[in-house]
Protein backbone atom coordinates (compact mmCIF):
# COMPACT_ATOMS: atom_id res chain seq x y z
CA UNK A 1 0.00 0.00 0.00
CA UNK A 2 1.14 3.50 -0.78
CA UNK A 3 2.57 5.11 2.35
CA UNK A 4 0.44 8.21 1.90
CA UNK A 5 -2.72 6.13 1.78
CA UNK A 6 -1.60 4.02 4.75
CA UNK A 7 -1.00 7.14 6.86
CA UNK A 8 -4.30 8.65 5.76
CA UNK A 9 -6.18 5.47 6.73
CA UNK A 10 -4.43 5.29 10.10
CA UNK A 11 -5.36 8.90 10.74
CA UNK A 12 -8.90 8.23 9.58
CA UNK A 13 -9.17 5.38 12.10
CA UNK A 14 -7.91 7.66 14.83
CA UNK A 15 -10.38 10.39 13.84
CA UNK A 16 -13.19 7.85 13.85
CA UNK A 17 -12.27 6.65 17.33
CA UNK A 18 -11.87 10.25 18.54
CA UNK A 19 -15.29 11.18 17.21
CA UNK A 20 -16.93 8.21 18.96
CA UNK A 21 -15.16 8.98 22.25
CA UNK A 22 -16.30 12.61 22.05
CA UNK A 23 -19.83 11.49 21.32
CA UNK A 24 -19.77 9.11 24.30
CA UNK A 25 -18.63 11.95 26.54
CA UNK A 26 -21.49 14.10 25.27
CA UNK A 27 -23.97 11.32 26.03
CA UNK A 28 -22.59 11.11 29.55
CA UNK A 29 -22.86 14.89 29.90
CA UNK A 30 -26.48 14.87 28.72
CA UNK A 31 -27.59 12.14 31.09
CA UNK A 32 -25.77 13.71 34.04
CA UNK A 33 -27.48 17.07 33.46
CA UNK A 34 -30.91 15.57 34.17
CA UNK A 35 -32.26 16.86 37.46
CA UNK A 36 -35.43 15.75 39.19
CA UNK A 37 -37.37 18.19 41.34
CA UNK A 38 -40.83 18.00 42.87
CA UNK A 39 -42.13 15.43 40.39
CA UNK A 40 -40.55 17.13 37.36
CA UNK A 41 -37.57 16.33 35.16
CA UNK A 42 -35.30 19.21 34.18
CA UNK A 43 -32.37 19.23 31.81
CA UNK A 44 -30.00 21.71 33.40
CA UNK A 45 -29.02 24.09 30.62
CA UNK A 46 -27.64 27.60 30.47
CA UNK A 47 -31.09 28.85 29.45
CA UNK A 48 -32.79 27.19 32.42
CA UNK A 49 -30.25 28.75 34.78
CA UNK A 50 -30.69 32.17 33.15
CA UNK A 51 -34.48 31.90 33.24
CA UNK A 52 -34.49 30.96 36.91
CA UNK A 53 -32.15 33.85 37.70
CA UNK A 54 -34.41 36.16 35.67
CA UNK A 55 -37.40 35.08 37.77
CA UNK A 56 -35.46 35.71 40.97
CA UNK A 57 -34.35 39.13 39.71
CA UNK A 58 -38.04 39.91 39.13
CA UNK A 59 -39.06 38.84 42.63
CA UNK A 60 -40.67 35.58 41.57
CA UNK A 61 -39.04 33.67 44.35
CA UNK A 62 -41.56 31.32 45.90
CA UNK A 63 -44.37 29.01 44.78
CA UNK A 64 -43.82 29.67 41.07
CA UNK A 65 -44.76 27.02 38.47
CA UNK A 66 -42.35 26.58 35.57
CA UNK A 67 -42.29 24.05 32.73
CA UNK A 68 -40.01 21.04 33.01
CA UNK A 69 -38.31 19.32 30.06
CA UNK A 70 -41.52 17.43 29.26
CA UNK A 71 -43.50 20.69 29.34
CA UNK A 72 -45.25 19.69 32.54
CA UNK A 73 -45.85 22.54 35.00
CA UNK A 74 -43.84 22.02 38.17
CA UNK A 75 -44.20 24.11 41.28
CA UNK A 76 -40.91 25.57 42.50
CA UNK A 77 -41.38 26.30 46.16
CA UNK A 78 -38.12 28.14 46.73
CA UNK A 79 -36.62 29.55 43.53
CA UNK A 80 -33.28 30.49 45.12
CA UNK A 81 -32.80 27.02 46.49
CA UNK A 82 -33.71 25.59 43.07
CA UNK A 83 -31.20 27.90 41.36
CA UNK A 84 -28.44 26.84 43.75
CA UNK A 85 -29.24 23.16 43.14
CA UNK A 86 -29.19 23.41 39.35
CA UNK A 87 -26.03 25.52 39.41
CA UNK A 88 -24.41 22.88 41.54
CA UNK A 89 -25.48 20.14 39.09
CA UNK A 90 -24.27 22.20 36.13
CA UNK A 91 -20.82 22.94 37.48
CA UNK A 92 -20.20 19.49 38.91
CA UNK A 93 -21.09 17.88 35.58
CA UNK A 94 -19.40 20.41 33.29
CA UNK A 95 -16.17 20.45 35.31
CA UNK A 96 -16.05 16.65 34.98
CA UNK A 97 -16.82 16.91 31.27
CA UNK A 98 -14.06 19.49 30.79
CA UNK A 99 -11.41 17.34 32.44
CA UNK A 100 -12.42 14.23 30.46
CA UNK A 101 -12.57 16.24 27.24
CA UNK A 102 -9.09 17.66 27.81
CA UNK A 103 -7.79 14.17 28.51
CA UNK A 104 -9.01 12.74 25.21
CA UNK A 105 -7.77 15.80 23.29
CA UNK A 106 -4.23 15.08 24.47
CA UNK A 107 -4.27 11.40 23.51
CA UNK A 108 -2.91 11.12 20.00
CA UNK A 109 -3.14 7.36 19.55
CA UNK A 110 -6.18 5.10 19.54
CA UNK A 111 -4.70 2.97 22.35
CA UNK A 112 -4.34 6.01 24.61
CA UNK A 113 -7.69 7.39 23.52
CA UNK A 114 -9.64 4.34 24.62
CA UNK A 115 -7.28 3.71 27.59
CA UNK A 116 -6.53 0.24 26.35
Amino acid sequence: MDDRLKKALEFSNYQNALSVQRQLLKEKLNSSLIYGYNGGIFKVTESLISFVQFLIDNDRISDIPILDSNSNPILIKDMKEFRDSILNVYFTVVVGYYSEYEKIKKNRTIEKLVEL
Binding site: N16, A17, Q21, K28, I34, G36, N70, V114, L116
Partner: protein, 286 residues
Protein backbone atom coordinates in the same frame (compact mmCIF):
# COMPACT_ATOMS: atom_id res chain seq x y z
CA UNK B 1 -43.07 2.91 49.09
CA UNK B 2 -40.46 0.23 48.44
CA UNK B 3 -38.44 0.46 45.26
CA UNK B 4 -36.48 -2.19 43.48
CA UNK B 5 -35.10 -3.56 40.26
CA UNK B 6 -36.20 -6.66 38.38
CA UNK B 7 -34.51 -8.80 35.74
CA UNK B 8 -35.75 -11.81 33.82
CA UNK B 9 -33.49 -14.77 33.02
CA UNK B 10 -34.50 -17.90 31.14
CA UNK B 11 -31.42 -19.76 29.97
CA UNK B 12 -31.16 -21.22 26.50
CA UNK B 13 -28.56 -23.67 25.26
CA UNK B 14 -26.73 -20.86 23.53
CA UNK B 15 -26.98 -17.97 25.99
CA UNK B 16 -26.33 -18.10 29.72
CA UNK B 17 -28.88 -15.52 30.82
CA UNK B 18 -28.32 -16.49 34.45
CA UNK B 19 -24.76 -15.19 34.45
CA UNK B 20 -25.87 -12.11 32.49
CA UNK B 21 -28.54 -11.44 35.11
CA UNK B 22 -26.02 -11.73 37.93
CA UNK B 23 -23.69 -9.25 36.23
CA UNK B 24 -26.44 -6.77 35.28
CA UNK B 25 -28.21 -7.24 38.63
CA UNK B 26 -24.99 -6.89 40.60
CA UNK B 27 -24.03 -3.68 38.81
CA UNK B 28 -27.54 -2.24 39.24
CA UNK B 29 -27.55 -3.08 42.94
CA UNK B 30 -24.14 -1.53 43.47
CA UNK B 31 -24.65 1.61 41.42
CA UNK B 32 -28.31 2.35 42.20
CA UNK B 33 -28.12 1.15 45.79
CA UNK B 34 -31.47 -0.61 45.58
CA UNK B 35 -32.58 -4.23 46.01
CA UNK B 36 -32.61 -6.36 42.87
CA UNK B 37 -34.77 -9.43 42.25
CA UNK B 38 -34.64 -12.06 39.57
CA UNK B 39 -37.57 -13.72 37.81
CA UNK B 40 -36.49 -17.08 36.47
CA UNK B 41 -37.47 -20.72 36.02
CA UNK B 42 -36.50 -23.96 37.70
CA UNK B 43 -34.19 -25.16 34.93
CA UNK B 44 -32.25 -21.89 35.01
CA UNK B 45 -31.97 -22.17 38.81
CA UNK B 46 -30.71 -25.76 38.42
CA UNK B 47 -28.16 -24.54 35.89
CA UNK B 48 -26.97 -21.84 38.31
CA UNK B 49 -26.49 -24.50 40.98
CA UNK B 50 -24.69 -26.80 38.58
CA UNK B 51 -22.37 -24.08 37.30
CA UNK B 52 -21.68 -22.95 40.88
CA UNK B 53 -22.93 -19.40 40.47
CA UNK B 54 -26.02 -19.85 42.61
CA UNK B 55 -24.24 -18.60 45.74
CA UNK B 56 -23.33 -15.38 43.87
CA UNK B 57 -26.95 -15.11 42.71
CA UNK B 58 -28.13 -15.41 46.32
CA UNK B 59 -25.79 -12.63 47.38
CA UNK B 60 -26.85 -10.33 44.52
CA UNK B 61 -30.60 -10.89 44.49
CA UNK B 62 -33.00 -9.77 47.16
CA UNK B 63 -35.46 -12.41 45.91
CA UNK B 64 -35.27 -15.14 43.29
CA UNK B 65 -38.81 -15.50 42.00
CA UNK B 66 -39.55 -18.76 40.27
CA UNK B 67 -42.04 -18.73 37.44
CA UNK B 68 -43.05 -20.99 34.61
CA UNK B 69 -40.69 -21.07 31.66
CA UNK B 70 -42.39 -19.73 28.52
CA UNK B 71 -42.64 -22.05 25.54
CA UNK B 72 -39.71 -21.73 23.16
CA UNK B 73 -41.58 -20.90 19.96
CA UNK B 74 -39.82 -17.65 19.33
CA UNK B 75 -36.58 -17.75 17.34
CA UNK B 76 -34.24 -15.01 16.32
CA UNK B 77 -30.77 -14.47 14.93
CA UNK B 78 -28.10 -14.28 17.61
CA UNK B 79 -25.13 -12.28 16.34
CA UNK B 80 -21.75 -12.36 17.96
CA UNK B 81 -19.57 -9.98 15.97
CA UNK B 82 -19.42 -11.44 12.48
CA UNK B 83 -20.82 -14.86 13.54
CA UNK B 84 -24.55 -15.51 13.65
CA UNK B 85 -27.03 -18.33 14.24
CA UNK B 86 -30.74 -18.83 14.85
CA UNK B 87 -31.64 -19.53 18.47
CA UNK B 88 -34.74 -19.79 20.68
CA UNK B 89 -35.63 -16.47 22.27
CA UNK B 90 -37.51 -16.79 25.54
CA UNK B 91 -39.00 -13.38 26.21
CA UNK B 92 -42.75 -13.95 26.15
CA UNK B 93 -43.52 -13.47 29.84
CA UNK B 94 -42.20 -9.95 30.34
CA UNK B 95 -45.65 -8.55 31.02
CA UNK B 96 -46.02 -10.83 34.05
CA UNK B 97 -43.61 -8.53 35.88
CA UNK B 98 -46.53 -6.38 37.02
CA UNK B 99 -47.86 -9.32 39.08
CA UNK B 100 -44.50 -10.83 40.05
CA UNK B 101 -42.57 -7.77 41.16
CA UNK B 102 -42.37 -7.55 44.97
CA UNK B 103 -41.86 -3.78 44.78
CA UNK B 104 -44.32 -0.88 44.86
CA UNK B 105 -42.25 0.84 42.22
CA UNK B 106 -40.11 -1.27 39.90
CA UNK B 107 -37.37 -0.64 37.40
CA UNK B 108 -37.24 -3.52 34.95
CA UNK B 109 -33.98 -3.86 33.01
CA UNK B 110 -32.71 -6.29 30.41
CA UNK B 111 -29.87 -8.59 31.38
CA UNK B 112 -27.65 -7.01 28.73
CA UNK B 113 -28.10 -3.51 30.15
CA UNK B 114 -25.17 -2.68 32.40
CA UNK B 115 -25.69 0.13 34.90
CA UNK B 116 -22.69 2.19 35.98
CA UNK B 117 -24.38 5.55 36.73
CA UNK B 118 -27.59 6.51 38.47
CA UNK B 119 -29.50 8.28 35.69
CA UNK B 120 -32.72 6.90 37.16
CA UNK B 121 -32.48 8.72 40.49
CA UNK B 122 -34.64 11.61 39.27
CA UNK B 123 -37.29 9.28 37.84
CA UNK B 124 -38.32 7.38 40.97
CA UNK B 125 -39.97 10.50 42.38
CA UNK B 126 -42.14 11.07 39.29
CA UNK B 127 -45.78 10.40 39.89
CA UNK B 128 -46.23 8.44 36.65
CA UNK B 129 -47.63 4.89 36.60
CA UNK B 130 -45.65 3.68 33.59
CA UNK B 131 -42.41 4.88 31.98
CA UNK B 132 -40.39 3.48 29.13
CA UNK B 133 -37.36 4.64 27.19
CA UNK B 134 -38.28 6.47 24.00
CA UNK B 135 -35.10 5.87 22.00
CA UNK B 136 -31.72 4.28 21.69
CA UNK B 137 -28.47 5.89 20.64
CA UNK B 138 -25.84 3.68 19.16
CA UNK B 139 -22.26 4.18 20.27
CA UNK B 140 -21.15 4.23 16.63
CA UNK B 141 -23.69 6.99 15.95
CA UNK B 142 -25.61 5.05 13.29
CA UNK B 143 -29.29 4.31 13.78
CA UNK B 144 -31.72 2.51 11.50
CA UNK B 145 -35.34 3.34 10.67
CA UNK B 146 -36.54 0.25 12.55
CA UNK B 147 -34.68 1.36 15.67
CA UNK B 148 -36.88 4.47 15.68
CA UNK B 149 -40.25 3.27 14.46
CA UNK B 150 -42.31 0.10 14.81
CA UNK B 151 -42.36 0.01 11.00
CA UNK B 152 -42.01 2.54 8.23
CA UNK B 153 -45.71 3.47 8.52
CA UNK B 154 -46.16 2.97 12.27
CA UNK B 155 -45.57 5.06 15.40
CA UNK B 156 -42.40 5.45 17.41
CA UNK B 157 -40.66 2.40 18.80
CA UNK B 158 -40.16 2.54 22.55
CA UNK B 159 -37.48 0.37 24.14
CA UNK B 160 -38.51 -2.13 26.81
CA UNK B 161 -34.85 -2.47 27.82
CA UNK B 162 -35.81 -0.21 30.71
CA UNK B 163 -39.32 0.11 32.16
CA UNK B 164 -40.43 1.77 35.36
CA UNK B 165 -43.90 1.24 36.78
CA UNK B 166 -45.93 1.27 39.93
CA UNK B 167 -48.59 -1.20 41.06
CA UNK B 168 -51.55 0.97 40.16
CA UNK B 169 -54.57 -0.12 38.16
CA UNK B 170 -53.47 2.37 35.53
CA UNK B 171 -50.07 0.76 34.97
CA UNK B 172 -51.72 -2.68 34.93
CA UNK B 173 -53.66 -1.64 31.81
CA UNK B 174 -50.38 -1.32 29.86
CA UNK B 175 -49.19 -4.79 30.89
CA UNK B 176 -52.56 -6.48 30.33
CA UNK B 177 -52.67 -4.98 26.87
CA UNK B 178 -49.15 -6.26 26.14
CA UNK B 179 -50.47 -9.76 26.93
CA UNK B 180 -53.33 -9.25 24.49
CA UNK B 181 -50.98 -7.93 21.78
CA UNK B 182 -48.61 -10.88 22.26
CA UNK B 183 -51.51 -13.32 21.91
CA UNK B 184 -52.66 -11.53 18.73
CA UNK B 185 -49.23 -10.59 17.46
CA UNK B 186 -49.95 -11.42 13.85
CA UNK B 187 -53.15 -9.39 13.81
CA UNK B 188 -51.34 -6.34 15.14
CA UNK B 189 -48.57 -6.97 12.60
CA UNK B 190 -51.17 -6.44 9.89
CA UNK B 191 -52.23 -3.16 11.42
CA UNK B 192 -48.82 -1.80 12.38
CA UNK B 193 -47.00 -3.44 9.44
CA UNK B 194 -44.11 -5.00 11.37
CA UNK B 195 -42.53 -8.41 10.80
CA UNK B 196 -44.39 -10.89 12.98
CA UNK B 197 -41.93 -13.81 12.80
CA UNK B 198 -40.11 -12.83 15.99
CA UNK B 199 -42.02 -11.58 19.01
CA UNK B 200 -40.45 -8.38 20.34
CA UNK B 201 -41.37 -6.84 23.67
CA UNK B 202 -40.29 -3.44 22.36
CA UNK B 203 -43.02 -3.62 19.72
CA UNK B 204 -45.70 -4.99 22.07
CA UNK B 205 -45.02 -2.30 24.69
CA UNK B 206 -44.88 0.43 22.01
CA UNK B 207 -48.29 -0.58 20.65
CA UNK B 208 -49.71 -0.88 24.15
CA UNK B 209 -48.47 2.62 24.96
CA UNK B 210 -49.81 3.94 21.66
CA UNK B 211 -53.28 2.54 22.33
CA UNK B 212 -53.49 3.35 26.05
CA UNK B 213 -52.34 6.92 25.49
CA UNK B 214 -55.05 7.68 22.95
CA UNK B 215 -53.24 6.70 19.72
CA UNK B 216 -50.88 9.63 20.16
CA UNK B 217 -47.15 9.87 20.64
CA UNK B 218 -46.61 10.92 24.24
CA UNK B 219 -43.03 11.41 25.37
CA UNK B 220 -43.91 12.86 28.76
CA UNK B 221 -43.39 9.50 30.45
CA UNK B 222 -40.07 8.67 28.84
CA UNK B 223 -37.10 7.17 30.61
CA UNK B 224 -33.61 8.24 29.45
CA UNK B 225 -32.51 7.01 26.03
CA UNK B 226 -30.49 3.83 25.93
CA UNK B 227 -26.88 4.02 24.87
CA UNK B 228 -26.39 0.80 22.90
CA UNK B 229 -23.92 -1.34 21.07
CA UNK B 230 -25.26 -3.56 18.31
CA UNK B 231 -24.78 -7.31 18.31
CA UNK B 232 -22.15 -6.83 15.61
CA UNK B 233 -20.05 -4.88 18.12
CA UNK B 234 -18.11 -6.67 20.83
CA UNK B 235 -17.12 -6.06 24.40
CA UNK B 236 -13.48 -7.18 24.29
CA UNK B 237 -12.08 -6.20 27.67
CA UNK B 238 -13.04 -4.86 31.08
CA UNK B 239 -10.50 -2.87 33.07
CA UNK B 240 -10.33 -3.06 36.84
CA UNK B 241 -11.45 0.59 37.10
CA UNK B 242 -14.67 -0.32 35.25
CA UNK B 243 -13.67 0.92 31.80
CA UNK B 244 -15.27 -1.20 29.08
CA UNK B 245 -13.32 -1.67 25.84
CA UNK B 246 -15.30 -2.30 22.66
CA UNK B 247 -14.57 -3.33 19.13
CA UNK B 248 -17.11 -1.49 17.01
CA UNK B 249 -18.21 -2.81 13.68
CA UNK B 250 -17.82 -0.38 10.83
CA UNK B 251 -21.20 -0.17 9.09
CA UNK B 252 -19.69 0.86 5.77
CA UNK B 253 -17.00 -1.78 5.54
CA UNK B 254 -18.02 -5.04 7.26
CA UNK B 255 -14.47 -6.38 7.56
CA UNK B 256 -13.33 -3.26 9.37
CA UNK B 257 -13.77 -2.40 13.02
CA UNK B 258 -12.42 0.16 15.42
CA UNK B 259 -11.79 0.50 19.12
CA UNK B 260 -13.82 2.47 21.59
CA UNK B 261 -14.30 2.56 25.33
CA UNK B 262 -16.49 4.04 28.03
CA UNK B 263 -16.49 4.36 31.79
CA UNK B 264 -19.19 5.24 34.33
CA UNK B 265 -21.89 5.13 31.64
CA UNK B 266 -24.89 2.85 31.36
CA UNK B 267 -24.63 0.74 28.27
CA UNK B 268 -26.82 -1.79 26.50
CA UNK B 269 -24.55 -4.46 25.01
CA UNK B 270 -26.65 -6.44 22.55
CA UNK B 271 -23.81 -8.88 21.91
CA UNK B 272 -24.59 -11.03 24.93
CA UNK B 273 -21.90 -13.61 24.20
CA UNK B 274 -19.24 -10.94 24.50
CA UNK B 275 -20.55 -10.10 28.00
CA UNK B 276 -20.35 -13.78 28.94
CA UNK B 277 -16.77 -13.97 27.63
CA UNK B 278 -15.82 -11.19 30.04
CA UNK B 279 -17.83 -12.52 32.97
CA UNK B 280 -14.90 -12.95 35.39
CA UNK B 281 -13.80 -9.35 35.05
CA UNK B 282 -17.37 -8.03 35.16
CA UNK B 283 -18.18 -10.07 38.26
CA UNK B 284 -15.22 -8.43 39.98
CA UNK B 285 -16.94 -5.06 39.53
CA UNK B 286 -20.13 -5.98 41.37
Amino acid sequence: MNKGIILFAHNSKEVDYSVLSIIAGGLAKKNLDLPVSLITDISTIEWMKESKIYSIALSVFDKIIETQRPREFNHRILRDGVESKKIPFINQNRSSVWHLSPYDKTLLIDTDYLIFEDVFKSYWQLNLPFMISDSIKLVNGKIGVLDRWISDIAPRLFWATTLMFDKSDESKIYFDLVDHIRENYRYYADIYQYRHEVYRNDIAFSISKHIVEGFKEDLSNSLPYILSLTDKDELIDVKSDGRLIFLLNDEISADKSFLSSCKDQNVHIMNKQSIVRNKEKLLELI
